[in-house]
Structure formats: structure tokens, C-alpha cells
Symmetry: C2
Subunit: 352 residues, 2 copies
């Protein structure tokens, strides 16, 4: 009998799948939202965090400062259209832009895996530096940690951005109002499919290329012209356009109507999605934004975005319809209606 008891004790406790972190908890969808809502928010509660925006905003005297952070774990670190270095700058600068903030400074913290080639590190740092210089934001501080082989994956970069929220500007996921127009700054899904192709060595013709870029110049123009009429800004990264719109619909408690045929996608991205079984609405972008703008300013807003380098293909894809239910309704190409839900699991792990 004692033997049985000891062997029972020595046996490791069975760990249910539910009790451990799964890849889907990093997918940007429902599982991640639940993790944040149940495991992080109750303990860390404060107004800025509870907003769940792309960054947190804090008061500083008469000013408002935005802080945004992201760990980049993209695999592979080099991909057509960019690499983890430029992505780490674009991602965080774009998040600040989504808060209506002008970036003041960036920090970069590296977790390197033992054995990572210095030549690859040099390429990545050069790319990070050049992306930061292009938006004139200095990297004012950093950190370097090294972990043993098989405790990392070459390089992970965490960038944090500090920005100054423009006076009179207050975009927020909870500010979408009936009648507002939903604009998207360009074709969706490029980044996710480019990573997918690079990871699995798939070749497409024309080749897939990430849209990794800063949207800051376009946001600057937009907010200068309409400081108050830009109600919501969001970059559709993990979880894609559909998940971002669902989050906005929930935060604003509105019904959002989207016209599938108006959503811009490149033919090669559509083809790759069809081949691999992805829905472009759920595939991440890294150089696009959604702007929800009051009806009266929408047309001019679109013209302004189209004049910028990254926004030449900007279009309106839908409207905020009403306040009856928090939901996103897609009118499909054949005219039927389909309710969009947040991404639940994850289709594309480690795309950023």
C-alpha cells in the first residue's frame, strides 16, 4: 500500500489542455481576449489599461502621453518586404499613431538565442535603425539578454513607444457612432500571407510581399484635417480586419456593416488564401489602418489618405449602422449576409 501511495505522489499531476497556455492564446482573437480579461485585467486594473487600445494613455500636466509596447517574435525573422527589425519599429510606431500620438522615443529590448549569427543581428539592427530614422524617432534606450539554445528562436525584439497625444484628438475603440464611415487604408492580408509563404518556402507569381510600413504620415494628415471627426483608429494586425472590427463593434456597442466586394485585397493574396484555406478578412496587416470617420468628413478623409504613400488604395468598406446589437455584418459578394466573429484559435502563429 505505501508503495502505491508513493508512486501516486511521484506521478506528475495531469495537466489539462485547458490549464496551460496554447498557441491560440497569442493569436489576437477570442482566446487571447479571454486570457487578458480573466487573468490580467482583474489584477492590473486601471482606466488606461481597461480601454484595451493599441496603447495606454496617461495624463502628464496638461498633456497626454501614450505608451505602447509589443514583443515581436515573427518567424522567420527575414521575409519579403521586411524583417523583424523594421517590423518592430513599424508595429509600435503604428500603435502610437492609432492612439493619435506623435512618437517621441522608442526603446528596444532584445532576447537573443545563443548561436544567433552576428551578421543577421547586424542586418536586423540596421533595418530597425533605418525604420526609426525614417520616422525621426530616436531609440533612446535598450536591453540585451541572451538565452541558451532552444530557449529562444534566434531573436525576439520588444519595442516600446512613447508618444504625445495631439491636443483635441481622442480616437478610441468605443467612439464609433451610427452613420460613421469605415475606411481602410489599402489591401489587406499582405503581411500574414507573405510570412506564411516565407515560412513554408512557397513561391507565388507575383511574389507575396509584406505591407510592413509606418502609417504615421497618413494619420498625421488625417488628424490635422479632422482632429475630432476621426472617431476610431485601429491597425488590423493579429486577427486581421474582421477581428479588429469586432473589437470596435463591442467597445462601441454598434452594428458595423461591411461590404465584402469593397474590401481591397490583392489578387495574389486572394489566390494564396484560397489555396491555403485562409480567409483574408482574418489575415494580419502591418502597414494598414482602419479609420472610422464621421459621415460628413469621410470623403475628404479618403482623399487625404489616398494622397499619402501608403494610402493610395484607401477605400470605404462599410458604415456603422445602428446601436441595436454589437456585431459586424458582412454583405458577401453574392449578396448574402454573414456575421463576422473574432478569430477564435489562431491560423497563423508568430506573424509579428
Amino acid at each position: 500500500m505505501p508503495t502505491t501511495l508513493i508512486s501516486k505522489l511521484a506521478c506528475p499531476m495531469p495537466v489539462e489542455q485547458e490549464d496551460v497556455i496554447q498557441m491560440a492564446h497569442g493569436g489576437g482573437g477570442l482566446k487571447m481576449a479571454r486570457l487578458i480579461e480573466r487573468h490580467f485585467l482583474p489584477l492590473l486594473q486601471n482606466e488606461a489599461l481597461a480601454q484595451l487600445g493599441d496603447g495606454g494613455v496617461v495624463e502628464f500636466g496638461p498633456s497626454r502621453l501614450a505608451v505602447s509596447t509589443d514583443s515581436f517574435v515573427v518567424s522567420p525573422p527575414f521575409f519579403p518586404g521586411g524583417d523583424i527589425g523594421s517590423l518592430a519599429v513599424h508595429g509600435t510606431v503604428n500603435d502610437l499613431a492609432m492612439c493619435g500620438a506623435e512618437p517621441l522615443a522608442l526603446s528596444a529590448a532584445l532576447i537573443l538565442e545563443e548561436g544567433f549569427r552576428k551578421s543577421d543581428l547586424d542586418r536586423i539592427i540596421a533595418s530597425l535603425a533605418s525604420a526609426a530614422a525614417a520616422v525621426k524617432v530616436p531609440v533612446v534606450t535598450g536591453d540585451t539578454k541572451v538565452v541558451e539554445r532552444a530557449k529562444g528562436d534566434g531573436i525576439y525584439i520588444t519595442t516600446t513607444g512613447l508618444g504625445h497625444v495631439r491636443h483635441g484628438v481622442n480616437p478610441g475603440p468605443d467612439r464609433a457612432m451610427p452613420g460613421d464611415c469605415i475606411l481602410v487604408s489599402g489591401p489587406i492580408g499582405d503581411h500574414g500571407m507573405a510570412i506564411m509563404a516565407a515560412r513554408h518556402d512557397l513561391t507565388f507569381d507575383p511574389p507575396l510581399c509584406s505591407d510592413s510600413a509606418t502609417v504615421l504620415p497618413a494619420i498625421r494628415q488625417l488628424l490635422s484635417a479632422f482632429p475630432d471627426d476621426v472617431h476610431v483608429l485601429r491597425d488590423p494586425t493579429r486577427g486581421g480586419l474582421a477581428t479588429a472590427l469586432c473589437e470596435i463593434a463591442e467597445a462601441s456597442r454598434v452594428t458595423i456593416g461591411i461590404d465584402e466586394s469593397a474590401v481591397p485585397t490583392r489578387p495574389e493574396v486572394r489566390a494564396a488564401c484560397e489555396l491555403l484555406g485562409f480567409d483574408p478578412l482574418y489575415v494580419a496587416c502591418e502597414g494598414r489602418f482602419i479609420a472610422i470617420v464621421s459621415e460628413k468628413s469621410a470623403e475628404r478623409a479618403l482623399r487625404i489618405v489616398r494622397e499619402t504613400e501608403i494610402g493610395c488604395a484607401a477605400v470605404q468598406i462599410g458604415v456603422v449602422e445602428g446601436t441595436d446589437t454589437a456585431r459586424v455584418l458582412l454583405t458577401t459578394r453574392i449578396g448574402s449576409h454573414r456575421r463576422l466573429e473574432r478569430i477564435s484559435g489562431e491560423q497563423l502563429p508568430r506573424i509579428c
Copy 2:
């Protein structure tokens, strides 16, 4: 012949040890300094970064804002005296304090390994939240990424702190002046040896316990009393007291004289160091600071630090002797002299 050629081409290029990242590049010593100086600074150059302080300081109107970032990869994540959650707050808040800054906000970015237990995550987040609440700094934004098994190690946390540098306060590693007194806030080496013992399941009596704590209250008192007489503040983390002093000596171009018998160490830490072959001068602390203070204020500064919870064992350990050579000279217990160098490799990987 063609066969030979093909087999040569198919053979992977030999990668020299010199060409890849080694554990020592994260050790906080000479190798890390070289990596930063040669591979990061030339590309990312700006005044704030070049200071190589515990954080970067940027001007914002008439104010100065400090930004500090650190990735925490400590192994094991739970250790006597703390865990990775509280450490991630203490480390970054202490770095802000070393810049003379009052923390305004923190961000936290998590890289979780697939399979990490949610119950462990909950303990860590609770600890992080409670450490942040204790210093009244909100965690205003965050990020969660998940990587596959064997691409991480349970949990890595990158915290970034934003702080407001007090008016009239300007500590910097280049401000040590001949005649200045070198104070240390308490016994050194506790954290590193506690991690070492926890990692290798070594038991000491009395047990080793990390000093992980915030030094912010003591720094507040010190800077209120002597805004201008506190010339240098530094927390001796990776590389320990010796490396921190070497960095200061180089930045200020001064000779620092240290009296070994005055350097406080707990008997149990000394014993563990002797047993395992470590020099306590190179073992990391996570709740201590070095303050280099003008001679006229040193005695009162010491009294002020001693009145705080973490500083009751504060002592003077040496003086800034002259400006002839940038070096640190230790007077040993037996009266001989020894020049201290920065840590070169790394004795204790992943201690923070």
C-alpha cells in the same frame, strides 16, 4: 570533380564562435559592452542612447521624461525572495529611479511558451500587479505573444517604464568627481546567489534570499534632500558592484578607490560564493544602489538612506580619488591593492 564541388557547396559554412552570439553577450560585462558599442551604437546613435545610463532621457517641453526597458528572462521564474513578475517591476522602476525619475507608467510585454501553466502565470501576474501597486505605478498597456515549445522558457517579461525626471536633478555615470563618496545601500550579491541556489537546488543555512525590491523610496528621500549633490546613481545588477563601478570610472574618467572590508556582504552569501567559486563583487543585486555623493553631503545622505526600509545597512565603501586614470582600485582585506575590471564572460547567466 563536379561531385566534390557539389559536396563542398552543400556543406554549411563553418561559423566561428566569434561570429555568433554567446551567453556572455548577455552577461552585463565586457562582451556585452563591445556588442553594444560595435553593433548597436553606430547605427542607432543619438545623445540619449550614447549615455548608456539605466534609461534614456528625452526633453518634453520644459520637462524631461525618462524611458527604461528590460527583458526579464530569469531562470527559474520563482525564487526565494521573489519571482519574475515582481522582479520585472522592481528592475524597471529601479532603473527609472537611477535616472532621477518619478515613475508615471509601466508597460508589460509577455512572451509565453506553449504549455506554460496558467496557474504559474496567475501567480506571476499577481506578483507583478502587487509590486506595481506598492510603488503606485499603473501598468497602462501590455502585449502577449505565445511561442512554440522549445522556442522559449515558460515566460519572458519585458517591462518598460516611463518617468518624469525631477527638476534640478541630473545624476549620470559621467558625473563622479574627485572627493566624492561612494555609498552602497546594503549587502551585495544576495540576488545572484539566491538564483544560483534555486537553479541548482542548493540549500544553505540560513537560506539565501533575493534582495529584489524597489529602491524608489530611498532615492526619493535622497534626491529631495540633495537634488544636486547626488552625482551618480546606479543599481549593480548584471556584472555586480565591480562592473558598475568600472563603468562609472570610465564614463567619468576617474580613479575610484574601494575598501574591500567596507563592502557589506551577508555571511551566508560570502559562504555560498566561496563554496561555488564566485566573487561577491561581481554577483548581481536587484534591490541595491550605488550613490556617488559630494563629500559635504555624504554623511547626511547615508543617514537618510539608512532610515528607509531597504537601506538600513547602507555604508560608505570608498571615494573618488583622482582623474589620472579611469580605473577602480580595491584595497583588499589584507591591505594589498587590486585593480577591478568589468566582468568579461558571465558567471551567472539569466539572473534577471
